[in-house]
Symmetry: C2
Amino acid sequence: MTTIETILNHRSIRKYKNQPVSDEVLNQILEAGIRASTTGNMQVYSIIVTKDEENKKKLCDYHFKQSMILEAPVLLTFCADFNRFNEWCKQRQAEPGYNNFLSFFTAAIDALLVAQNVALAAESLGLGICYLGTTTYMADKFIEFFNLPEGVVPITALTLGYPAEIPELTDRLPLSGVIHNEKYQDYKPADIDEIYSLKESLTLTKNLIQENKLETLAQIFTQKRYTKKDNEFFSDKLLEVIKKQGF
Amino acid sequence: MTTIETILNHRSIRKYKNQPVSDEVLNQILEAGIRASTTGNMQVYSIIVTKDEENKKKLCDYHFKQSMILEAPVLLTFCADFNRFNEWCKQRQAEPGYNNFLSFFTAAIDALLVAQNVALAAESLGLGICYLGTTTYMADKFIEFFNLPEGVVPITALTLGYPAEIPELTDRLPLSGVIHNEKYQDYKPADIDEIYSLKESLTLTKNLIQENKLETLAQIFTQKRYTKKDNEFFSDKLLEVIKKQGF
């Protein structure tokens, strides 16, 4: 499969076969992962591999009980990590100056580019993946669970395994809706209607609105999935975690 | 080329042929880009395409005058973007609650996974790319230049074009240095020595230390490339920008 085919073929996999991922395959995926660009080639990230059943159960609880974590043979947690780099500096007569927000964000970028490399490498070998956005919501729990020292913050996680389902491809906004040429063209009401028309016309969307007894898909996002109250709660927690971890 | 081969073959390209990227190729790359996973399939990002020579000159200045921006036919700027989603909510009787740090970070994750998809799609078609970390340093300038409204923050950028060089692959830390099994194993001094030994043994490293009249590679990072003073300055600026853009 070509790279473009791998990319176009992506779907999030939430059901996995009871089939382990061999060390050989996992290593191949991770070796590919770490070829991603990082700022100054500093590689300020770490990846934590979870295979142990008991550990997966605990992590599943923290990840809002998303059951694919129990099904998938492997869970990968990608962390922004300046700890290793700072230790290196200290051992090499250099005074690290990375206890600030920019450095945290730099390390988060590193971790995310590696994560997407890992996702595509895995998919190209016939495995399925699913990203876990709950990683930042519950970062404090993961820090405790994994014993993350100062300088390390969990950013995202992936389940990994052989798919037991091939879901339909999910919809995307039309390319023209997310691309701007030369300057940002702000959206007029008619643009918004057009950009979201496909998504709003899906049977899936109509069923969701009915099930939720709401009027619009947007209301499902604001009132059920990603509410202001939750966002503010998890914002405060995440900012606290970033500071507590020394950034 | 297989996906794994594309990934393993990655090098940052800083010299480009004077050869445009056709709209057809660019569209294929961007269509692949937007297949990346995003939180709740919200796609809270935008991509700004720069081809205009005058615009590239200005943007090159803001990006610390990195000359590959002038050479490359295309510059892509990836932004966290809740503006479009917020507008949609408002037009659909839904009250958006995304003016907070968690939402900014969610949107940044979306933008970065798309960026890496774009990078790999481009590379698989024979193009070269280079990430521009200066995007977050100078975010205020890019906001002004691109007319980014509230809810939009530039996160990263890529130059794109046909390579006029094939540099050596850059070194990476050994996989065992960035992977942890089940729990985070903090680094002992001997681990640090081992993990950084390859990097420190390179002729490139030795030359750099000599040129900079310093004692260690780590000192080049802390005293020249990514200094505490700069990091703190750009941290304050970035945090200000995130707030100013309504998060």
